[in-house]
């Protein structure tokens, strides 16, 4: 508890307020990819962002990286407005970096690993070409456990895991304080995935890094995150400390999501809540709770009133009007029958 209080008094490294990103689709309208998302990331902390495909988690990462222009909202890095006209763009790039999902397409196939790793250093004029650069790269390779012989190779000569290590090295080269990890292990096999996760966690300890860890895999997010935010259709529906959210999830979507993951356990049988239908389109969303059409405890009220993200217990935010009853009701909630599945079409 003491640690949490301390957290409160610390200043956030990155703060995102009411961030919105709409894409205009000709003749169709507005795609609400991210719709009013707010969160803070503290120094040395990992915030996990989970959700299914299309919920907007990667868009959040891309807007933070300024790879997409925001539609609305504010963002502060170390208290300074990032979107301000006089903001130092180079300084921002040095402090905020990204690791991408696909280690195959995020490395330029026509450049050697050395070129890939030295480009940010040369652009930002951190080191000069020559022995200084070589020494820097040597240290960088050592940090991430990359063999120096690989520096003169091309990305296609490396396997997926090694390529992701190169991606991590590139993100680290400017010594950032904040890294957006966009599904960095999703394309990797289990045994390699473990290696990358361990590396990310070791680096965090060494350099007091902050991560925004985007993933669809609940068990990976649980392993690496201090806090978790669950997204559904462009909005954060629940946010809390990792242990809190896993022991006491309150949003009906989070509860269903957790029960949906197949577990490697021999004995325990869980009461699985199967959600009917698919994630609806984020195109021109209707008012009311976004999850209501698939919710197993929805009331008529839910499709009229939009729930707010409210603090249910210290540090635990839920956006559901019936959050207090959800756990009780989850015990008796039945799996969706075939008839219900058909109705939802």
């Amino acid at each position: 508890m003491a640690e949490k209080m301390e957290n409160k008094s610390r200043k956030p490294l990155l703060e995102v307020r009411h961030l919105k990103k709409y894409f205009t689709i000709p003749r169709k309208g507005q795609l609400h990819a991210v719709d009013d998302v707010s969160f803070q990331v503290y120094p040395g902390e990992t915030l996990g962002l989970v959700g299914e495909s299309g919920c907007g988690k990667s868009t959040v990462g891309n807007v933070i990286m300024k790879l997409h222009k925001r539609t609305e909202g504010e963002m502060y890095l170390e208290g300074r407005d990032v979107f301000a006209s006089d903001a130092d763009k180079d300084a921002f790039c040095r402090k905020v970096q990204i690791i991408f999902l696909d280690p195959y397409s995020s490395l330029n196939p026509r450049k050697t690993i050395k070129d890939i790793l030295s480009e940010p250093l040369l652009v930002q004029k951190i080191v000069k070409k020559g022995p200084e650069l070589d020494k820097f790269l040597e240290e960088l390779c050592e940090t991430v456990g990359l063999s120096q012989d690989l520096l003169n190779h091309y990305p296609h000569e490396l396997d997926g895991g090694m390529r992701q290590v190169v991606g991590i090295a590139r993100a680290l080269s400017l010594n950032p304080s904040f890294i957006v990890c966009d599904e960095p292990v999703s394309a990797l096999d289990v045994s390699v995935q473990a290696k990358i996760i361990n590396l990310l966690m070791d680096l965090q300890k060494e350099r007091n890094l902050s991560y925004l860890f985007i993933s669809h895999d609940l068990s990976v997010v649980r392993h690496i995150s201090n806090r978790i935010a669950v997204m559904y259709l462009g909005q954060i529906v629940e946010m809390a400390d990792t242990d809190m959210i896993f022991q006491n999830a309150m949003h009906p979507y989070t509860i269903a999501l957790m029960s949906a993951v197949p577990k490697v356990s021999v004995d325990k049988k869980v009461n699985r809540i199967v959600l009917a239908g698919d994630v609806p389109s984020p195109m021109n969303p209707k008012p009311g709770c976004r999850f209501a059409p698939r919710c197993w405890m929805a009331c008529p009220e839910c499709s009229n009133k939009t729930p707010e993200l409210t603090e249910m217990e210290p540090g635990h935010f839920v956006s559901c009007m019936y959050a207090r009853e959800s756990r009780e009701r989850a015990k008796t909630a039945a799996t969706v029958s075939v008839e219900k599945m058909m109705e939802s079409q």
Partner: protein, 323 residues
């Protein structure tokens, strides 16, 4: 229960292209009995899908079967006539594929595609096939009136359910599911898993579940076979193998998996990378990554040994690593 449905003996498959030769399967032995559900687990490139395709005599071009025998209900698959093969595929054994978008034909309605199976194997006429297809769609939770819709009008999860409907159309004796939920979201995966559980109960079909997800195996299967570099290195009941894994690779896999409950201990990564099928190591194929490797492991291929009544492991030390 005792009847052997599919029996694979010492199967060796090699892929030859102009540039390289890859040994995909290096002596696979596998038996599926009637009513049994077997999970085949391994990382990418372990040979899971090749095993399934070979047993249907559907190896892609460049794939050569070097050695081995495959029997379906006692009949040699390699010696079957074209007619017998056609009868086996889709009727006695059917397969559900990983990507439901590419395994369905975009220019036919789903009704036609399910009906095609029925007309081919059961000799139904158009009207009967439509009626039966409608019933099948409803079994997998899709409204019957959608019979005349095209695959692109369905979502990923529903397409996979169409694939399952076509798969169970002829009430096959063996259903092979090749990573059926890998392309799907968790909540949709849960729908498919619950559906498959229900069908297992209703149809009492044998199941060969190919996946890299250990959780799915633990939910759907009784037996599990762990593959590495084209060999089955551990086999047994799911309860035995997952609670008391004996092969260093299986132990590594289970240790590398982040958990949803309990302490968040540091993950134990398996050193090195997955063996390359083009340059397989001598001896035990796992030895370069194994912390218990001895001189013997480097030279000789270990044999499958029985460690418990229903638990086999292919390791010289038989899973004893104390001291």
């Amino acid at each position: 229960m005792e009847e052997k449905l599919l029996e694979i003996k010492n199967l060796r498959v090699r892929f030859v292209t102009e540039r390289a030769t890859a040994d995909a399967l290096n002596g696979v032995n596998l038996t599926i009995r009637k009513g049994e559900s077997l999970g085949l687990v391994g990382e990418s490139g372990a040979g899971k899908t090749t095993t399934a395709l070979a047993s249907l005599k559907l190896l892609p071009r460049g794939g050569q079967m070097l050695d081995g025998e495959i029997y379906f209900k006692g009949k040699d698959v390699m010696r079957m006539s074209k007619r017998e093969l056609l009868d086996m595929r889709g009727h006695r054994i059917s397969m559900i594929f990983q990507n439901p978008l590419t395994s369905l034909n975009p220019v036919f309605t789903v009704g036609e595609q399910i009906g095609m199976v029925l007309r081919q194997h059961k000799g139904l006429n158009k009207k009967q096939a439509d009626e039966e297809a409608m019933r099948l769609l409803e079994t997998v939770g899709i409204a019957g009136y959608r019979l005349n819709d095209y695959p692109n009008q369905f979502s990923g999860g529903m397409r996979q359910r169409v694939g399952i409907a076509a798969g169970i159309a002829c009430n096959p004796e063996l259903l092979i599911a090749d990573e059926p939920t890998t392309a799907l979201d968790v909540t949709i995966q849960a729908q498919i898993l619950e559906l498959m559980k229900r069908l297992q109960k209703e149809y009492s079909t044998s199941l060969l579940m190919i996946t890299h997800n250990l959780g799915i195996i633990s939910e759907l299967c009784e037996k599990v076979a762990v593959m590495y570099a084209g060999r089955i290195i551990e086999y047994g009941t799911v309860r035995e193998v997952f609670s008391d894994p004996r092969h260093p690779y299986t132990r590594g896999l289970l240790g590398a998996l982040p958990k949803l409950e309990g302490d968040r201990d540091r993950l134990t990564a398996i050193p090195g990378t997955v063996a390359n099928a083009q340059h397989l190591p001598e001896g035990c194929r796992f030895h370069p990554r194994c912390e218990h490797c001895t001189e013997e492991c480097k030279k000789q291929q270990p044999e499958m040994v029985q460690v418990k009544e229903e638990h086999f492991v292919e390791c010289f030390r038989g899973g004893k690593f104390d001291g």
